[in-house]
Symmetry: C2
Subunit: 224 residues, 2 copies
DNA sequence: GGTGACAGATTGCCTGACAATCCTTCAATG
DNA sequence: CATTGAAGGATTGTCAGGCAATCTGTCACC
């Protein structure tokens, strides 16, 4: 290898940049669910042409972040209770499977998991909710990465985007930060079980951890 | 219901039609992996404009059916051994999880599973390989549907497309049809375990069934 | 009050074009 | 002879503009 892998010259295309920008804006909650994304206005605002913007929007649609009604336009997706249910179903399946497979996990994946945990631990004191949720989900993504499947990683990443959209939509800031220390303790226990390759205990802990979150979010949705 | 469901007014967009057409063509093996899909020529041949075709290609790229090299164009994906490994990892995770969850599955999903089995059974005698693989995978998709998660269903469907591409690429016709009766018997056993809601047995049978297939395909790939 | 039609707005899709980038070929040089 | 360098051709990346189709909202009318 002559060059560091970051030098890979992979200049991202404009529509990819636009898609990434819109994705971040949406999951950050800066675009309320239900708001219409008009092509001409948005394209002008972003300084790109309509076809380019359309490609980006189509990409977001496939991720479930925007809804597309024929001849009406695209709207920021407003996820309902059944969507939350589905998203957590994805999490349960992937994370539980990963926990059960921790015996066959590579050392690299376990090292990445530990690194993700340190990152979560380090930034937990901050009051930036967005970054907190980010690092939290990154820890869980590292769990899924134990499976060693890029495709499942992608599925989980899409589900994370959906969850972030849900969280920011209902403004779940205060309850989540309040739960910080408890979640950290659970993360530590999960990490310990996984590195010890204790599949059964890890799966049990992961399932309980997710279930706690799921019921809390579901309750918030029921109240809203 | 006032109208037949086909009248659903949901005029599929042109780019969706194009994407579906290309998807079928690719997974059917009528486009050899590695062949370049030139935009102008293909757009002219399909009678659509370039932007429309680009949208369709972008959709296929997200499904992993085509590869996109910057400023070079899109090529029919040529999946390697590690891709096959990944695809089967997806199958193992999703189908095993679904089998374990059969206790909580809805009756509708179980009915759909039985229907899929009947369909496989009915068309098994035919010599049309494409349809055989289709129905086989539809049975497995019905297993995954026990989870009740549209997002996981979509992930599995994408994996199925990848698998079909692999199979048609290596021309796995003869070994697969020869295996027909054995697979049918395994399917019957899996269906029995699932409808009996015997999670443990169902998972064991599913895992073995998938593993048999995986090792066979992997062997074919090693020889090619 | 409910029903129909009209106007406005927006998308769906196409045509055409230009710049940027990449691969190939070929000549020049050590 | 192998390697380097540059020109040429082809293809993609992106933009601008335009027209038809379709949906929504409003308003007159029964």
């Amino acid at each position: 290898m002559l060059l560091p892998s970051t030098t890979t010259l992979r200049r991202s295309s404009t529509s990819d940049d636009v898609a990434a920008l819109l994705r971040n804006t949406i999951v950050a909650g800066q675009l309320a669910p239900g708001t219409q994304l008009r092509e001409v206005a948005l394209a002008a605002e972003l300084g790109v042409s309509r076809p380019t913007l359309r490609e980006a929007l189509r990409s977001l649609e496939r991720d479930g972040l925007v809804m597309h009604r024929a001849n009406r336009g695209v709207f920021v997706a407003s996820l309902g209770a059944e969507d939350v249910e589905d998203l957590y179903r994805v999490r349960v399946v992937l994370e539980a499977s990963a926990a059960r497979a921790c015996a066959e996990a590579t050392d690299d994946a376990l090292a990445a998991l530990r690194a993700a945990f340190e990152e979560v631990h380090g930034s937990w004191g901050g009051d930036d909710l967005g970054r907190l949720v980010d690092t939290d989900l990154r820890f869980h993504a590292a769990i899924v990465a134990l499976l060693g499947s890029p495709r499942l990683d992608a599925t989980f990443a899409a589900a994370c985007d959906g969850l972030r959209l849900c969280l920011s939509a209902i403004g779940a800031s205060t309850p989540h930060v309040a739960r910080g220390p408890a979640a950290l303790e659970q993360h530590r226990a999960i990490l310990a079980a996984l590195t010890a390759r204790d599949a059964e205990r890890a799966e049990r802990l992961v399932l309980r951890h997710i279930e706690v979150n799921r019921s809390r979010i579901a309750r918030l949705f029921a109240g809203a």
